[in-house]
Each structure stands twice: as structure tokens, then as C-alpha cells.
Symmetry: C2
């Protein structure tokens, strides 16, 4: 169920060339909402990302997000920016909103212009207006419209019980390839839109989002490729009816928000292009958090590690090799490695273990790897998937 | 033809479990030779790497290199070091050499002990002693003995004509996976051994090697994984008979040495695991050399770029996306991208080009990509290969 005061929906607008595929989604609030956003740090930022960054600088409230799939509107220069503005303004007009009250996002092929037929685009937006709503079908149509190589509708909702009543958070995410976001402040093709009826100011919302992303979206890698379009936007419209959150209630909200973003982030790795399994990597007892994250992300992006996971091979040698090239100093004689609960490497030495047991464990859908450095007390988790034949098929196909 | 005063060879010693596979090679000089070496910067350095680093610190001359395949002797603690020392000392005894006059190297599976049967190992080394020589067959047997997933014997030789006469350089390299060396000074499973009969002091040789590696071995990536065992060793035994090289002759030698190391490095990318094509990436007109290399290496290690190359897809969008996340600031509106001679992206805009022509070009065995940043005058080249189904097969196979 959507939070109060939000409507969503999705239609086929022909912005995507994929026959019959819904490709244009709207997430809109009845009233202007506090807004927070984080975006890709890629130098080659797509037009919608550049537009959103500019719009968020105003500090204004926003009413919604219009997002398309099929075309990333990236590397499209001034025409790309004009196209993004045109989509927003057409939508603002049809919905009788103030100008500059919407944000936008795109995902798809890089370097192509949006296929906007200006004479019929207004009709498309009217169609979108007439198709949005609050039903489960509306939710699914909205998420379907932003999907590309995704195989699952990835959305999560939470009802959060706070002292003064109930608030709702709803989030969706698309993304399966070109996933290694690094989103920070106003400065990831994963798109995630989070809606809540909590009453929170934009400034606070931005901090909550950035802190949550550091433990979730920024700890996910499918292929190590950071997109030109990665975007996470949160809209908080305050329509829960319980007013401003107390400090205590805010803490409860933040906790629920952190859980939701982590689950959304994990769902991206679970639906990674060609993935046959989800892999959680925990690096423990590092000197610093940064060290732990560097090693975890180096393992998560190692093709040799990821193909070993595909082969259900407890190849801790590839884990230690990846750890050793992360740029972090550690003592290999203190390192312990656990793959799926099996202790494979102890204080610098290989342990004998049942290869059959290891293979059985690694054949599961979800695998956990722990690297214990015994150098300090900081830890970090990273979420990824294996590298399969299907990853090659999906991405080796002509212009996927 | 080998340089004067060198013998090489290879036998089956059963250090590798691969039935019938030759697995122990020797590269030896009749007289102690000036020696230079560069090694992996991985924190988890294999036992032979640790041993060689210690031995090279003495500044002594060395007589040769004994190298095995099938077992990397990495992550094997003190026993691994003892094993590496045992191999060297047994060989030194049989060859009636001073102690600490050989270097060693290993490649293969990480985390297993060398399968040395001490009662028969001396016999194996005697067999090796009786099988070495200067013939083409000896050369091939030596290189075959250090190969793992390599599909080609990779060796190159040069006769260098200098003012005072002729010198020879001979080099071989093994390596197909876990290739992204970063070798520096005394501090890379690519193994390369270079033999020359030039008369050069070790100190000079080290500088020549380090400078050459920065333009060759350190510009190659198969999968972005830096090994625990990467090693390049050069032996210069001065047996050419023409004495110390003049400054002018040294320059001619360095030039030939640079060419040889570059060709050896390229041969590794050409024989990359599962590779169907060789890809050269040139980043031009960057502000700094470091910027150029960072972007080139980011493209070279991007799974999305490498799968596009496999699909013969002129997907410059993935090139710009990888460039943009390299951590280098540039102006996308000044960027030009050429794929196989086709101008695909000009000053921030997509150019129309014949997809058929592009596909034809990209179906070749060798492809060149140029990214022109128009930000300065520095450039860098990187050598890699595509990511194919076979890469997944080779590395997804249980404990390859």
C-alpha cells in the first residue's frame, strides 16, 4: 500500500523501442513534498541527473518524479537537457503544477536522444494522468515502466508504528547491470524512488538518505560499472496525519528507512544480470571502516571470485588474492576466511575442509563470505552476485 | 636462438597434478648474471616472491631461475618458504652452484603446498640438468613447463645490432588469467623471464626493467585481478663477447628491450582466458599521464566494455561511462571516441555511423579504441581482451 497522498502509475509511451514494454512512470504526491536526492558521481552525468541536481539546489519542495526506461538520455548534450526539461514541463502543465515542481530520471541505452514525438507527447502524458492511482496494479505498472534487464519487480513497503501513530514508507528500485553506485550528496543505471507520508524537512531527509545509502546502495556491485544515471530520490509529503515526528519517533523512522534501503539494495544484487546467486561479503576487524569497505568491494568486483561463486568453488585463494590487491595493508598470517560457514583459511594457513560440503553450501541461492583481518575492530558488508554465462549473453548481445 | 651462455629446459616433475604436463623449468646462465626483478604488489605475496625479494636485496649476481606450474605456493606460510628454499638449494647442489645463486617462481593454484617428494626430487633435478640445452625444443619445453591456462607458447627473441657488435635478448611469458600486474621495484600469475648476453650492471638493469614494465606489463589487464605471484626477472650474463655497452649502444639495447617487453605484454592479453580478440585502448590528450592511464585501465577492466567487445558492439556509451567513473575530471563536451577507426562520439555528441561497418571492424582479431579527452597532451595505452563465455567456463570450473 502506498503512503498517504501518493499516486503512481506507468504506461507505454514509445520512449523505449522494446515493442509493448511500458516505459514511462510517474510517482506523484497530492501536495509538494520534502525532497532528498543522491546521484551518480560519474563525470558523464546524464541529462536528467544534471537537471535534478540543479532543481534540488533550489531547496524547493517537489511534487513528483517522471521516469522513463529504454533511453538513458546520457551523452546527449544540450538537446538532452532540453528534452528532459520538456518532459517535466509537459507533465507539470497537464497536472496543473507550478513549473519546476517535478524531477525526472532515465535509464537505458547511452548516447541516444529521447524519442519524443512532440505532437503526441501531450496525449501520452494525459494517458499517464488517467492511469495513475493507489492500487497494487498501479504500483506494479510504475515499477515495470522503469525496468530494463531487471527480471523482478523490486519494491518494498513498511508500515512504521511510532509513538504518535503510523507512517508508511514505500520504495522501488530498478537495476541489474552497470551497478556499482557511488552516490553522494548533490554531487548511480540504478534508479530508486522512495515515498513516505512522514513529515520531515528536506535537509533532514537528505542526511537520512546519505547515511542510509552508505550502508546500502553504495555497498552493492553487480559488475563494478558505475552508471551515468544512478539516482535515488525520496519524497516525504507529511500526509500521514500525525504531524512532525518527535526525536524518538524520528529514530524509529530512520531505523525503518535504513532497513528498507538495505533491502532494496540487496534486491538489486539478487536480480543482478545473469546472477544465479546472491553473495554477501563481510570484512571484519579491519583497522578502519574504509579499509574494510575497500577489501569488501575489491572481492565483490573480482571476476575471478565471481566466476568461482558461479562454479560453487570454495576458492578462498581468489578471495585472499583480491583482498591483497585492495590497497590495504594487513598481515596475511592473521587472516581467517569463512565461506558459507566453513572455515577455509586460518591465520595464514589453508585448512582442510570437505570440498563436498563446501560445494553443497555454495550451491545455495545465498552465500556468505567472511574475511576476518584481526587488525582492528571495524567491519563492512558488500552485496554482489556471481558472474555467469548469462552475464556474457546479456551484455555481449548487440547494444543491450 | 638463446643469448650466448644460457641454457633452458623443462620436465615433468609431478609438482603439477595435471597428468603428463611438463611443470618444472630452468633458465640458467653458464656464469653468474646481473639480475633485475619486479614483483606483485599484492599484500599476499607467494613464498617464491618473498624469497626472490630477499635474495635480490643482497645485490649479488644470480645464475638462473627455477620455476614450476600447477601450484602457486602462495598462502603457504613458513612451510611454503622452506619448500621454495628447498627447490633452490637442491638445484644449486646438483648444478654445483654456490648457495643462494638461484631465484624461483611458481604459478598455479593458491593455498596448496608444493607436492615435493623429497626422496625423488633430487632425481627430478638431475633429469632437468640432463635435459636442458640451447635448442628450440629446449626453449619450448621451458616455456611449456610454466604454462597453466595459456593456449600459446609466448616467447620472443631479438638480435640487437649495436656499434660494437651483436647482442641477443630472449624473453618468455606465461599468463592468461588473474592478469592485472602492478609490478614495482623490489616491493605481479604472470611470469616473465628475460635473458640477455649484454653486459649491464644489475642496478642499471633494474631501472631499465622498471621503466619498460610501466609501458608494458603494467598496462595489461585480462580480468583486473592482480596475482599473488606475478614476477618478471631479467638475467644479463655479459657473454655476448662485446664487453660493456657504450652509452649509445645502451640506448639501442633499451629500445630493443622496450619493444620486447611490450610484445611480451601484448601476447598475454592476446592469449587472455577465453579471449576472442585483442583490444588496444589509447587515451589521448589527457592533462596528466596518470589521468590517461587511470581512464585507459578503467575501460580495460570494465566488464560491460569487455562484453560489448565480445559482441562486436560499437557501444561507445559504455566507454564514456567507464571513463567517467575513473576518478579523473574531464569535460565530456570535449571528448572524442574512435572505435576501430570509426568516429563514434564527437565533442559530447553521438555521431551517426554505419553499425554494419562498425560490427565488421569489431569482428576482427585486433581492435583499437581511442578516447581523446582534449584536455592536455599526455597519453597512455592499455592492452586487454574481450570477456567471453569461455572466460566464465574456464574460471567457473571447479578449482581451475
Amino acid at each position: 500500500m502506498l503512503p498517504k497522498g501518493f499516486k503512481v502509475g506507468g504506461i507505454r509511451s514509445e520512449l523505449s523501442k522494446k515493442e509493448g514494454k511500458k516505459d514511462l512512470a510517474l510517482f506523484i504526491s497530492d501536495v509538494p513534498a520534502s525532497t532528498a536526492g543522491i546521484f551518480t558521481q560519474n563525470v558523464a552525468k546524464a541529462a536528467p541527473v544534471l537537471l535534478d541536481i540543479e532543481r534540488l539546489k533550489t531547496g524547493n519542495k517537489f511534487s513528483g518524479i517522471i521516469a522513463n526506461s529504454g533511453c538513458a538520455n546520457a551523452c546527449t548534450g544540450t538537446k538532452g537537457l532540453e528534452d528532459a526539461e520538456y518532459i517535466c514541463s509537459t507533465c507539470e502543465t497537464i497536472f496543473e503544477l507550478d513549473s519546476v515542481s517535478l524531477l525526472c530520471a532515465s535509464t537505458g541505452v547511452i548516447g541516444q536522444y529521447l524519442n519524443i514525438f512532440k505532437d503526441t507527447f501531450t496525449e501520452k502524458i494525459k494517458l499517464l494522468r488517467d492511469s495513475i492511482g493507489t492500487s497494487l496494479k498501479n504500483e506494479e505498472e510504475a515499477v515495470l515502466s522503469i525496468m530494463t534487464t531487471d527480471t523482478l519487480i523490486k519494491k518494498i513497503e513498511k508500515e512504521v508504528v511510532v509513538k504518535s501513530g503510523k507512517i508508511r514508507i514505500w520504495g522501488c528500485v530498478k537495476g541489474a547491470g552497470m551497478i556499482h553506485p557511488n552516490l553522494q550528496g548533490l554531487h548511480a543505471t540504478m534508479l530508486s524512488f522512495i515515498l513516505t507520508d512522514a513529515d520531515i524537512e528536506s535537509e533532514n531527509l537528505q542526511v537520512i538518505l546519505e547515511e542510509a545509502a552508505d550502508k546500502s546502495f553504495n555497498c552493492v556491485s553487480v559488475d563494478g560499472d558505475m552508471s551515468t544515471n544512478d539516482t535515488v530520490i525520496v519524497l516525504a509529503n507529511g500526509q500521514s496525519g500525525i504531524g512532525k515526528l518527535s526525536k524518538e519517533d524520528l529514530a524509529i523512522f530512520v531505523n525503518a528507512f535504513d532497513e528498507l534501503t538495505l533491502d532494496l539494495a540487496k534486491s538489486v544484487a539478487k536480480d543482478g544480470e545473469g546472477a544465479t546467486k546472491f553473495v554477501e561479503i563481510e570484512v571484519k576487524n579491519a583497522k578502519t571502516k574504509k579499509d574494510a569497505k575497500l577489501i569488501a568491494s575489491t572481492i565483490a568486483t573480482s571476476p575471478l571470485f565471481k566466476t568461482a561463486m558461479f562454479g560453487s568453488d570454495a576458492n578462498w585463494g581468489r578471495i585472499i588474492a583480491a583482498s591483497g590487491r585492495a590497497g590495504v595493508d594487513f598481515d596475511i598470517n592473521k587472516v581467517n576466511i569463512y565461506i558459507g560457514g566453513i572455515h577455509t583459511f586460518k591465520d595464514g594457513f589453508a585448512l582442510k575442509f570437505s570440498e563436498d560440503d563446501a560445494r553443497k553450501f555454495l550451491s545455495r541461492k545465498e552465500v556468505k563470505v567472511i574475511v576476518d583481518l584481526s587488525m582492528g575492530s571495524e567491519s563492512s558488508k558488500y552485496y554482489t552476485c556471481d558472474f555467469s554465462y548469462d552475464y556474457i549473453r546479456i551484455n555481449g548481445d548487440y547494444r543491450s
